[in-house]
Each structure stands twice: as C-alpha cells, then as structure tokens.
C-alpha cells in the first residue's frame, strides 16, 4: 500500500516461515484501493528435493541485511519507474529455518490492469534472486547440509540472467 513511497527503506525480512494467513491479510488490506484491478502474487515454498539419496528437510537462510535492504530499495525504485501504473509492491523473505512445505518468499504487486502486476512480479523475483545477499543452507535428512546456490548467479556472484 505504498505506491507513493517507493524510496523508503523497508525491512523485507521475517524470522521463520511466511504464514499463508499473512498473505490473505495482505490481500485483504487492498480492498480500500478501488483503483486496483489486478493482484499478482509469487510465493516460494521450500521443496523436499532429493540430493544423492538424502532429502532436503529445511532451508536455513541468513542475509547481509543492510546490503539486502539497500539493494531492495533500488529494485523497488526501478520497478516503479518501469511500471508507473503499479499501485503497490510488497516483498518478504524469510530468515532462519524454513521447513519443506513452508513459504520463504513472497512478491506481491497490484495495479489497475494485470500486465503491469504480472510483469513486475516476474522481474522483481529475478532481481531478488540475483542481487540480494541472501544465503541458504539445505538441511538434509542425514543431518548434513549443502549450501544452496541460485543458478541465475555465476560463481563470482554476478547475475547471469538479467
């Protein structure tokens, strides 16, 4: 609900999983904005992937919060410049332990018409994955762990798909 304040630094991080009910509450808050015609929501859920015979039981996220928030502010500003009709944009990412089946990431855009909301969500998801210093450890069923690497970022941490 902050289309008019894209420059404010806001904390996108939440401790633990994102509650599905919180998504419902976020949606409900837009009922007073009768200029909105379309909401597009992306949610990331932790997958119980199999890794060499073991299973991912949880992801443990950490972040360089200060840099992540600065990058997110820049991404928000750019998104509102690219889709000026966008009414609001909400981004949340989990920190700490998120079990398989739980939600860890939300990008939620609203606009008068659906193209802006849909395009902005896809673009913001890509940018967050590529540019925010967030780190993830996959906790496996045998109590070992593997550090997760987004395929969209090269080994030097440079985004490759933008």
């Amino acid at each position: 609900m902050s289309g008019t304040k894209p420059h404010r630094v806001r904390d996108i991080f939440v401790e633990g999983p994102i509650d599905a009910a919180f998504v419902g509450t976020s949606i409900a808050k837009h009922a007073t904005r009768t200029d909105i015609g379309a909401h597009e929501i992306f949610l990331g859920q932790v997958r119980a992937d199999a890794i060499e015979g073991r299973t991912v039981e949880a992801l443990e996220y950490s972040a360089y919060r200060e840099m992540a928030m600065e990058r997110m502010t820049a991404i928000r500003e750019e998104a509102f410049a690219m889709w000026p009709s966008m009414t609001c944009l909400h981004v949340h990412h989990s920190l700490g332990t998120i079990k398989a089946g739980e939600l860890c990431f939300m990008v939620f855009a609203s606009a008068p018409h659906r193209a802006a909301a849909r395009e902005a969500v896809a673009w913001v998801v890509d940018r967050v994955k590529a540019e925010l210093p967030i780190f993830g450890k996959e906790i496996l069923s045998d109590a070992t762990h593997v550090w997760k690497v987004n395929r969209s970022v090269d080994p030097q941490g440079r985004p490759t798909d933008l």
Binding site: Y61, Y64, V125, V128, I134, F135, N150
Partner: protein, 74 residues
C-alpha cells in the same frame, strides 16, 4: 579493518567477522586466503560499502567490507 563474513565463508572461517589489514580488494583476497582454509576453492564476491566490486579496488580501512558466497535467496 573488520571484514563481515557470510554463509559458507563464515562457516569455513568459524567466525562472522575477521580483523584484517588490506590496502585493496586484491590484497584482501590474499589475506582472506591466509586466514580461511580452503578459500581458494570457493567462489565469493566482495562488497564495499554494500556494493559488489569487480576487479581491484583500493581500500582505506573505513569502508564496510563484506565477503559474500553465491546468493541463494528466493
């Protein structure tokens, strides 16, 4: 200067910060390799004042310097 470590790098260093002296990011890479076993085999990026830097960048010791393994958000 105090260097911030994250994720796999922090795990390998056994610490969230390291106290190091370096006049450039190239020198910082050398110092980090001396202090963190197996760092040579890892990919990481350096952020200075919360921005990724490429190539060699001078450091005066007052910057906020961070060592970042590959990102995994989302």
């Amino acid at each position: 200067m105090e260097v911030l470590l994250f994720g796999l790098i922090a795990e390998r260093a056994g610490a969230r910060t390291l106290e190091l002296s370096a006049a450039s990011t190239s020198e910082l890479r050398v110092r980090l390799a001396e202090r963190i076993e197996g760092l040579a085999a890892l990919s990481y990026a350096i952020a200075v004042d919360r921005r990724l830097v490429m190539g060699d960048v001078p450091l005066n010791g007052s910057e906020e310097v961070a060592v970042l393994p590959p990102f995994a958000g989302g």
